[in-house]
């Protein structure tokens, strides 16, 4: 009985996937036929229904790339990458699109394997892992109190200590990821790029411009119409219209 329940539980996502595949295949057929605008519309519907579906973002990015809309394509690839950083297709296409705009996925000088490991789990997965480790640590510690008494060498207490250590590691990893390129970041999606002003308003001087497709750091979101953005490579920051930038 228990096995049957397990089998049913495992079969549920597969059945749901089979149901959705028809709709996705229809949009992919449009893409294959070169009807990128129509395919993009379909992929957008899919994203609206399932915002955490990385393949919706990825396929939409492909259609945008074919339509030569590089900024929105990089934004969609970035969203797909943040959801599923392990996918070789997503990584490959994001890197390809970034190279079209003079950027790289793997920073220059960084070993590709290290970069892959650093992004082997998404931020959501890392957060969920931290929460599960917190649960495991607390439950094991509670069991240690009740079962092992004062003995720290008991199995429950050892599990609690290991979970605590892993939790600290995952929190450190999560903290480090907060400073990475795709965290608190946005992509310039306006065709032709965006102006960087010295303040949040048109009355301030334009002193730089960020090209379309450029991944920028979002430093301040408080203003209604403007983001304060930073270009770490160039070491400059400025204010750009929120409508010109899509937050990853």
């Amino acid at each position: 009985m228990r096995r049957l329940l397990l089998a049913l539980l495992l079969a549920l996502p597969a059945a749901a996937a089979a149901y959705d595949r028809g709709e996705l295949a229809e949009f992919n057929d449009l893409y294959r036929a070169g009807q990128y605008e129509e395919a993009l519309e379909g992929y957008r519907q899919l994203i609206a229904k399932e915002p955490s579906n990385q393949w919706g973002w990825y396929n939409a990015a492909n259609a945008l790339f074919r339509l030569n809309r590089m900024g929105p394509a990089i934004y969609h690839y970035s969203r797909a990458f943040t959801l599923d950083p392990r996918s070789q297709d997503i990584r490959g296409n994001l890197d390809f699109a970034l190279r079209h705009t003079g950027q790289r996925l793997v920073p220059e000088g960084a070993p590709a394997a290290l970069h892959y490991f650093y992004y082997i789990v998404s931020e959501r997965e890392l957060k969920a892992l931290s929460l599960l480790l917190f649960w495991l640590g607390c439950l094991a510690w509670a069991a240690g109190f009740l079962l092992d008494g004062n003995k720290w060498s008991g199995p429950a207490c050892r599990t609690a200590a290991a979970a605590g250590l892993l939790l600290l590691c995952s929190l450190a990893w999560l903290g480090a990821r907060q400073t990475s390129a795709f965290s608190s970041a946005g992509v310039v999606t306006k065709a032709g790029g965006t102006r960087m002003l010295s303040g949040p308003g048109d009355n301030f001087k334009t002193y730089a411009s960020a090209p379309e497709g450029r991944i920028v750091k979002i430093l301040d979101t408080d203003d209604e119409a403007y983001y304060e953005i930073g270009l770490p490579k160039e070491g400059i920051k400025g204010w750009a219209l929120k409508t010109d930038i899509d937050k990853i």
Binding site: G34, Y36, E37, W55, A63, D84, S122, R124, K127, L146
Partner: protein
């Protein structure tokens, strides 16, 4: 002579080997040797090689012609597993100067070998004075021929504009994929001082295909002579709904004095060749052109893949007979007018008698008379599985005919192959036997194809489920941890102070015993009830004193109580003795314990408990 024999033999061997290695070849040819200055000719460069792909030719810089790419067509043959590819690249050439013009050598290089064509010479003659009859093989050239000006141009001329730019489409409404021609004309009645800069329009819901060359000419509008340059493009709508052509812009330097005569026969050459800004810079833009794109009607056949236009379809194999296991090229060719680039391969029928390998497509586009025509060939490699007469069933292809406003479905004729028994060598298809040791070279890069996965991987699902829990759920483990910490401390305290807990619980245990005894009395089991009350009373006193009272005499027990609880009064001690004696008497003499007596004892014990709880603290 004998001394030089090995050297001569080696040279002879090299001479013999050289033609054998010349596997990459390139040839070039034009469709005519003589062309008028206002006409075009087609240059076809054919590259052949022994691998699945051949390099694209590198065209030399040709100052004497304007060059436009006009498509490519590919053919592949596989004989005894050896692959031979031939790709024809077609270019449309527009002459710029009169006289004998040379097309320089064209070279191709595949990384190992280089091949070149010989030079070609074409004679360019003056344009005929009278309009020539329309030739099907060459596009109609409107240059140097008076044209009837468009109504928009006439309106501009009426307003007295000396220079203006107009964009017009040949229709305002079309189906997705139906060709719409746009003409952008730059009129000037004054000479310009420099080469004007043209910025093409942006398109919304449209893709464009150039219709070269740039046409130049002159026309008279309302009594004013204008020189004009016309750029044409074919547009294809992507989806039903509104579509628009954005403004095209020309920036021109308009001088104070005439510098280029607009009616000079070489006006355009001067017009395009001059550089350096002089005079006043002026910008001319066209108006926004809005188009209505109608949806395709319902009822498309199952084989419809989005093709719009007027097409025919044929199918053929590269030979009528083959051996089992040997590759045969099977081509399906879609010919006609329409956006051939968007035509997708027709669905291939199921072929149980053949293994079907990848599809290759080649495109050959012509732009004669400003109509996009040509053919697209989809080549499949079929490998017969067994001998006998094998038939490839008809391939269905359907398209939407915008003129008739209806779908049409075509099918190819069935193709029959005679398959003989294959030898061992023919059973495996080796696509590149001659270069098995050659390294793989990347010839380009592109994004990976779209995915048909649905994103329901277990890890993202699990993480999504965990993160979607409300925040307070995650305080659960902390609460549990706090509770277990308290319980553990409590247990340790309890284990360390057993007498204290027995002291605190004495009353509740005694009360429970009284309740149980009363139930026994009601059930008529008075002896058991008295025994229970007796044991309970002694246990109560033991728990309160911290010593086993049943092992003491009544007097010693009284002294113990007095020493442990100095505030205990004589009355309470007397009550204890009295109950103890009564219980002892009834316990050891069961006959004396009637139902009423047992009940009285239980009540008395209950009242004494209340009293003692106040004193034994």
């Amino acid at each position: 002579m004998r001394k030089n024999l090995p050297v001569l033999l080696a040279l002879a061997a090299l001479l013999c080997a050289a033609p054998a290695r010349a596997l990459l070849t390139v040839t070039a040819g034009t469709d005519r040797d003589t062309v008028q200055i206002d006409d075009n000719l087609y240059l076809t460069v054919t590259v052949s090689g022994d691998s699945a792909s051949v390099p694209e030719p590198k065209l030399p810089n040709m100052q004497n012609f304007n060059v436009y790419s006009s498509g490519r067509s590919q053919s592949i043959s596989i004989i005894n597993g050896k692959i031979t590819t031939s790709v024809s690249f077609t270019y449309m050439l527009t002459p710029r100067f009169l006289g004998a013009q040379t097309i320089p050598s064209i070279s191709v290089f595949n990384g190992r070998e280089k091949a070149v064509t010989s030079e070609l010479t074409v004679t360019v003659v003056k344009a005929a004075q009278q309009p020539k009859p329309q030739q099907p093989a060459a596009p109609r050239q409107p240059a140097a021929r008076p044209q009837r000006p468009s109504p928009a141009a006439r309106t501009a001329a009426v307003k007295g504009e000396r220079i203006f730019l107009k964009a017009e489409t040949d229709r305002k409404s079309a189906y997705p994929g139906e060709q719409i021609n746009i003409s952008i004309k730059f009129y000037t009645s004054v000479p310009l001082s420099s080469n004007p800069q043209y910025m093409p329009p942006s398109f919304k819901n449209l893709i464009s295909e150039d219709l070269p060359p740039v046409r130049n000419g002159e026309t008279e509008i309302n009594g004013t002579r204008y020189a004009y340059s016309e750029i044409k493009a074919a547009l294809f709508a992507l989806a039903p709904g509104p579509a628009q052509v954005g403004p095209a812009t020309v920036i021109a330097q308009v001088p104070a004095q005439d510098q280029i005569d607009p009616f000079d026969p070489n006006f355009f050459q001067k017009f395009m060749a001059m550089s350096g800004a002089q005079g006043r810079s002026m910008e001319f833009t066209t108006d926004l052109v809005k188009l209505d794109i109608k949806p395709l009607p319902a009822g498309a056949p199952a084989s419809f893949g989005g093709a719009v236009g007027d097409y025919t379809v044929t199918a053929a194999a590269d030979r009528p007979d083959a051996r089992a296991g040997e590759a045969v090229n099977f081509s399906v060719t879609v010919s006609g007018s329409g956006n051939l680039k968007a035509v997708i391969a027709p669905k291939f029928p199921d072929l149980p008698d053949f293994k079907v390998f990848d599809t290759m497509s080649s495109l050959d586009v012509r732009k004669d008379n400003d109509v996009i025509t040509g053919k697209k060939t989809f080549t499949y490699i079929l490998v017969p599985r067994s001998e006998g007469r094998k038939t490839v069933p008809p391939v269905r292809f359907s398209y939407f005919d915008p003129r008739a406003g209806e779908y049409r479905e075509l099918q190819t004729e069935p193709v029959t192959l005679t398959v003989e028994k294959g030898g061992q060598a023919a059973k495996s298809v080796n696509f590149n036997p001659g270069n098995s040791g050659a390294p793989v070279r990347a010839s380009g890069s592109d994004i990976a194809y779209v995915s048909d996965r649905t994103g329901r991987d277990s890890l993202p699902l699990l993480s999504g489920a965990v993160l979607s829990l409300p925040w307070w759920v995650h305080t659960g483990p902390l609460a549990l941890l706090t509770l277990s910490f308290w319980l553990a401390r409590f247990n340790r305290f309890k284990l360390a102070n057993p007498l204290l807990f027995r002291f605190r619980q004495a009353r509740s245990e005694a009360s429970r015993d009284i309740d149980e005894a009363e139930a026994l009395i009601k059930a008529g089991k008075t002896n058991e009830a008295v025994a229970l009350l007796y044991d309970s009373f002694l246990d109560y006193l033991s728990d309160k004193c911290g010593l086993k009272v049943s092992a003491l005499t009544m007097k010693k027990a009284g002294e113990l109580i007095k020493s442990r609880f100095p505030k205990a009064t004589e009355r309470s001690l007397g009550e204890i003795r009295e109950l103890w004696e009564a219980l002892e008497l009834r316990h050891y003499s069961p006959g004396t314990a009637g139902r009423e007596g047992a009940g009285d004892l239980a009540k008395k014990y209950s009242l004494l408990l209340e009293f003692l709880e106040k004193e034994l603290r």
